[in-house]
Amino acid sequence: MGIIATSRLKSPWIMHFDNSSCNGCDIEVLASLTPLYDIERFGIVNMGNPKHTDVLVVTGPVNRRTARVLKNLYDQIADPKMVIAVGTCSISGGVFHNCYNVLGGVDKVVPVDVYVPGCAARPEAIIDGVVMALQKLAKLQGVAL
């Protein structure tokens, strides 16, 4: 199993899901794929399919309709999985704290491993967040990163 666990850390596949964010963080997640930041050089690939995914990147506050979708996507991802909440509003609801249709942060619905603050979170911070998630995963599985 050692080789699989190590390869997972060397090339994590991420999936991005937008709850009901303002688009700012989504665009920054996308921007980190493009030439200036280019996260693919770390072996990180953006996937559209939850079954292939190791890391779920969630942006935006959970609202009453996307809560179900998010839970669904989370359940479809195979173990071990990591969830990263990107952006202030996905951590706690942030500026949307008194909107009636917002439930709050992502951690009200699924467990979150790493929180990336910022409004919108900078691509550098997102890269840091993914690396921190991998560190946690390495520790959990007892393999060296």
Partner: protein, 128 residues
Amino acid sequence: MIDKLKEISKDQLLAEVKKYADSKAKFVTGSCNDLGDKLEVTYYFNASPGMDMSALRFVVGKGEEVPSMTGIYLTAVLIENEMKELFGLKVKDLAIDFGGHMMLAQDSPVLPMLKSEDQKAAAQKGGK
């Protein structure tokens, strides 16, 4: 102050909207205000091409039915559904009826845009 605002009654609505449609005006949007026991609905139109905007406004009681203008302007379907959902405006004969769940989910608050008692009290106090 809204420029070129025309106050009408709800029975005149379809006839007035038809006039706009015949003159090839563009539907801009609508807005709804909660006036306590009544709802104030305003529709905005733009004489196209150009940037000349005018508005129609009518006031209805909260239980009254309002005719839908989706037969004339299909694009009003989103705003009429939204007003129905968020304010409880009773629009009849909608072209596409989302059944009260266009914006809101099953467990969302009902008619969330209506003013709460606290809000009314705060507005009264500040107005003096």
